[in-house]
């Protein structure tokens, strides 16, 4: 298909990976998309590190304790909080994406009447309210467990 469009004189003008990262003047969902990728990469990097650190068990108690001592510095502690934040964001935005990929919370198609408002913008308050509700429930459960444990 692409070959049909390429003549000798045309100049390629694909944005490339810059198009993933640069959300420019687009609205919030475009930024959520970029952040979803970033947090996904972050979580994957954490899982890799976590498995490497877990591997120190193979060197017995001494190896494990020295790894835990190495990881107990403030830099890694901040990193753990960042991982938790990334997990919460990735899970919440993933939940939104899943709902919307399955056509929920977007409403039905409507004949376009100017000024045009797309389904995501039309239903944005509902989506955000739903996410806030899920997040609120998650925080409530977390706090309740910490208080009553």
């Amino acid at each position: 298909m692409e070959a049909a469009s390429k003549t000798k004189t045309t100049l390629p003008n694909r944005l490339g990976i810059k198009g993933w990262a640069w959300a420019g003047r687009y609205k919030i969902e475009r930024y959520l998309y970029t952040l979803h990728r970033l947090t996904g990469f972050g979580l994957l990097a954490y899982v890799a590190l976590h498995l490497v650190a877990n591997g120190s068990r193979l060197w017995g108690e001494g190896g494990w304790e020295s790894t835990m001592n190495f990881l107990s510095n403030p830099g890694f502690k901040v990193g753990e909080y960042l991982v938790m934040a990334a997990f919460i964001y990735h899970a919440l935005n993933g939940g939104r994406l899943m709902l919307q990929h399955l056509g929920f919370t977007l409403g039905k198609p409507k004949p376009p009447v100017y000024p045009y408002v797309d389904a995501m913008r039309r239903r944005r308050p509902l989506t955000l309210a739903l996410l806030a509700l899920i997040m609120g429930l998650a925080i409530y459960v977390l706090v309740a467990f910490i208080i009553y444990r």
Partner: protein, 110 residues
């Protein structure tokens, strides 16, 4: 396997991970007794069938969800159709290797 079946699995593993990792974290950090990172706690968990089941489920769901996400990103780099098969097999092999390594640790260590 068709692409939409892979995507359905991506959704299922995503939901599963939310509850499994959330539950694992709550049990480990807030409901457990003592330091969860101490050698004795780690050894105790490795000997428990319940903890091992949660661990293996998180591994399966996490490896699938993560590697399927990475596969999607690599596909987006204009990967030609001939290379898609190579990518698929590479992803399967990486997944199996990571799973094997991650299961080997608690079995071998204690």
């Amino acid at each position: 396997m068709r692409e939409n079946h892979l995507k359905i699995l991506q959704y299922v593993t995503g939901i599963g991970l939310f509850f499994l990792v959330g539950g694992y974290h709550l049990l480990l950090m807030h409901l457990g007794k003592g330091d969860p990172e101490s050698w004795s706690s780690v050894a105790q968990r490795a000997a428990s069938a319940g903890w091992l089941t949660i661990y293996i489920l998180i591994l399966i769901f996490g490896i699938y969800h993560g590697l399927h996400g990475v596969r999607g990103l690599i596909l987006e780099l204009s990967l030609p159709n001939r290379a898609v098969k190579v990518l698929n097999w590479s992803i399967v092999l990486i997944g199996l290797a990571v799973f094997g390594y991650a299961v080997y640790i608690p079995i071998q260590a204690f």
